[in-house]
Each structure stands twice: as structure tokens, then as C-alpha cells.
Symmetry: C3
Subunit: 205 residues, 3 copies
């Protein structure tokens, strides 16, 4: 099981590094700033999670994560040099897959460390959303987590599915947590689902 | 005494969650972004304090803080749905009360963990100001702590009052620390007190 | 050796506090916001490094660092009151010296704590760049680390020089790490060196 968790984590890091590099390209950044943005997206959320849980920060003790980021960012850069245009959806799908990986893996790590299920759900959400949030702050974008109304909610749902199922079916829980996050996020992008809280905000302002 | 500290802390979290929700409303945010902004304001400062002090992050081990945020944010949202207008002063008063709670409680927690009085004063200021600072960065506002010249100084004074009095009168110290923060902050808002450092900045630029 | 490390660290904090104060002045900030910006620049990077390495945060256990910041910021403020104009290069040189100190000292601290050389290089870069990054985010500037293409790379090189030489010549390694960072950074400023990644970004957009 641990080996599955490990490679799921690495895959999440790789996918988020691709998303970060794509965003850096769209923002007309260059040089090492691209790697900084890719890294922040890929390991920012997990770093905040580990700090809050009081666990050793995952990548500080295993440089493989950094190699994964460098390879993923480099391949994306090479790809972008040949194909100068990337559709917005490519970036959004990479981001959605990253969310799916980290929402479940973040919850898993908190549960494994003995934290309460409710805290585990929050940790899944933080793992998934905070990397992109830090990236957006650095790139001077409005954080997706504030702009897109269902963004954080998607991670909450995915992490909750995992936390609720894991006592009974550990492997299915992992798959179900990821799949529910992915389906809701892609549905929200495609059908523009939203979550209104203030009714009068619907009028233009 | 510990039970007083605990409920003071919860009250501070609730008041800051209200302030965060009010700001989210003013910034025309919606959906779960409101809760993110409320939470960041409410527990951001205390989280940074606990991380720097090397203590377990307070809310990770006691979900009650998160429930407090959710209830406070929900009540504020319901209230805002009925009364679409909130005066700016409501937000500023909620914020000032939050500062008063956290400036003293932050200093108290650092002292209790055996840190030096001077570090305790800084920790009170960080607890009080950093939640709002992170919130302002996310909402793309100029952080209050940089814009309003007396903002951080208010917390320094409140935390200092607490740290100076607490060896002699623990309960009075708590009340005096909070009251001095509150009075200076409300005075600064009402009478536009400021703290000039560069004389030539007074001319328009 | 430890005493050399300690005073190098203090010197780095002082230089970055000067750089932070100069930036606050250029951004027309005033009051305590100046001290907040100076402190963030001076100890932000080292704080993030210590948190990620799981070490006690350096300044929380030794208030001398805060006194250093206050004295450095105060002297800079007094100097600015007499001489209302500062050339941009003064700020950039202060910043470059700060980078040189922290890139090597950050790597040194990670190695001393038993982390792998590759992680130590990253920690040097984080120590050097993150303080300025947080400062730029607060001051609503585009972070130098993203804008200036060689900024982070400079720190990577300086930290790598230190890490490669330190097993053989500990004292020379310290000097060589700092000097290489300083020379590359000042060269990049003077001769506008850059590090293009995406060729088509060279056209105006």
C-alpha cells in the first residue's frame, strides 16, 4: 500500500509541475522563474500540510520529488518550444488531475498520522489547493480558490469520500476519492457549475 | 485560568471569521472562497505563531476552532443575505476586537512555552496581524499592516502591556492588554492617528 | 567556525533589513509598515528554511536578530531623512550582498543538520530568495525571483559552490560561495545577463 501512496504522490507532484510550467508560459515568464512557479505549485500544498501536521516536510528528506519536478518542467518546456500554443483546457485538466491526487493523498497522510477525520478532510483540501494558491499569489493572479466557487469544495468532497470509505475499502477509497474530485472539477469547468452564497451578487457590479 | 484562555481564543477566532466574511462580501466574492477568506483571517496568524514557536498548530488538534469559524461565517452570511449593506465601521470594529484578543493571547502562549518576553511581544503581534495580512494578500488588497501606520504598533503596545503586567496580576494583565489594543485601534480609526517616519512623505506623490 | 557562521548570519540579516527599508521608502510606505517590510526581507527566508528543515526558527530563540533588524532599519531611516534620494543601485547592491550571505549560510545550516547536498543547495536558495519574495508579495511588486531571470539561479550557483568545496576547504568554501553569488548577481545587474527558456518570448507582447 505504501508503494502505491508513494507513486501516487510522485504523480501528483509531476502533474502539478506541468500545470505550473504551463501557467508560467501563459504569464510570459521566463528563465528560472518558470521552475520556481512549477515547484511552488507542485510541493507548496504538501509543504503547508506537513508543517501544520508537525510532520517532516516530505520533499526535504527525499530529493526524488525535486527531480520529478525538474523532469516534468523540462519536458513541458521542450514541448512548449515546439508547440507554441496550448489550449486553456490542457492547463485546467492537468490542474484537475493534480487536485484529485493531492486531495486524497493529503487526507490519507493526516489519517495515517492519527489526526481526526474532519481535520484529515481539511488537510486534503490544503494539500490540493494551497500550492496553486501560492502560485497564483506569486504570479499576481486572483487565486483560483477564491475566483472559482467550486474549486475548494471539490477537494473537500474528494477528501471526504476517501475519509468515509477508507475504514472499509482502503484501495477503492483511494480510487473513489480521486475520481469524485476529478469528475466534479471537470464538470464544474465544462458546465460552469457554481455555488452562490450571496444572492444579490448575481447582478452585475 | 486555562479555560479563560481557551474561550478567549475561540472568541478571537469567531470575531476574525466575521471580519473575514465581511471583507469577502465587500470584495464581491462568493461560494467557498468566503469560507477560505474567513478561515485565513481567523487562524492564519495563530498558525504562523505556532509554527515559529515550534508548538503543535492549535486548530489541527482541536476541530472546535474550525466549527467556530463555520458557525461564525454562516451566521454572518445569513445576516448579510437579509441586510445587504454593512457599514465599514462594523468590519473595522470586528477586526479591532480580533486584534485585541490575539495580541494578548499570542503573547501569553509564547510566555507559557518559555520564550523571552521580547519574543512574546512579537508573537502577539504576529498572531494578531498575520491572519489579516494573508487575507489581504489573497484578496489582492494592500495589507492593512502596511497601509495603516499604527496597525501593527497597536498590537505591539497591547502585547507589551500584557507581558509587563502578567508577572504581577495575571487576570488584570489579560484585560489590560486587550483593552489597550482595542482603545488605541478604535482611536486610530476614529481620529486618524498616524505614525510618520519619513517627513517628506507628507506631500502628495 | 560557529562564531564566524553566527556573525555572517547577523550581517546578512542587517544587510537585508537595509534593503527592505530602502524598498519601503521607494514604495512611499511609512510608519511601522517600514519595520514589517524590513523584518520580512531579513528573516523571512531563514524562517521558511528552518520550518522546512524542522529546526527551531533561528530568531525565536535569539532576540539579537530582531535588535539587529531594528538598528539597521533605524539607521537607514535616519540616513534617508537627511538624504531624500537613494540611487536604485544602492538597493540592488544591498540585496546582492544579502543574497551572498544567505545562499551560503542556508546551505551550511542544512548540511550541518544532516540533509543531502542537493537539498542543502535548495535550502540556500530558499534562505536567500524567499525573504525578498514575501516582501515583494506584501508590497504588491512582481517578485524579483520571477521577474529577474537569473536571480534564483545566482543563489543556486553560490550555494552549489559552497556545498562542493566545503568537504575540502571549509573556510574557503564560505568565501567562494559568497563571492560567486555576489559577482554573478552584480554582473547580471550591470550587463543585464538573462536566461531565456522560451525563444518566442523575446518578441514584444
Amino acid at each position: 500500500m505504501d508503494i502505491i501512496f508513494y507513486w501516487t504522490d510522485q504523480a501528483g507532484v509531476a502533474v502539478f509541475a506541468v500545470a505550473g510550467t504551463l501557467l508560467a508560459f501563459r504569464k510570459h515568464m521566463d528563465g528560472f522563474g518558470v521552475i520556481i512557479l512549477a515547484s511552488t505549485t507542485a510541493i507548496g500544498g504538501g509543504t503547508v500540510r506537513d508543517l501544520i501536521l508537525g510532520l517532516p516536510v516530505f520533499w526535504a528528506h527525499d530529493p526524488t520529488y525535486i527531480y520529478t519536478i525538474l523532469v516534468a518542467a523540462l519536458l513541458t518546456i521542450i514541448w512548449l518550444r515546439y508547440k507554441a500554443y496550448i489550449p486553456m483546457t490542457t492547463l485546467q485538466i492537468a490542474d484537475a488531475v493534480g487536485l484529485a491526487f493531492f486531495a486524497t493523498m493529503g487526507a490519507q497522510k493526516a489519517l495515517a498520522a492519527g489526526f481526526e477525520p474532519f481535520i484529515a478532510v481539511i488537510m486534503g483540501t490544503i494539500s490540493a489547493c494551497f500550492g496553486g494558491m501560492i502560485r497564483d499569489v506569486l504570479a499576481r493572479d486572483i487565486p483560483m480558490v477564491l475566483k472559482s466557487e467550486l474549486y475548494a469544495t471539490t477537494c473537500l468532497v474528494g477528501a471526504s469520500v476517501y475519509v468515509l470509505l477508507v475504514p472499509y475499502y482502503p484501495v477503492i477509497a483511494l480510487a473513489a476519492g480521486m475520481l469524485s474530485t476529478l469528475v466534479i472539477r471537470l464538470g464544474a469547468i465544462k458546465y460552469l457549475w457554481s455555488l452562490p452564497v450571496f444572492p444579490d451578487h448575481n447582478e452585475p457590479h
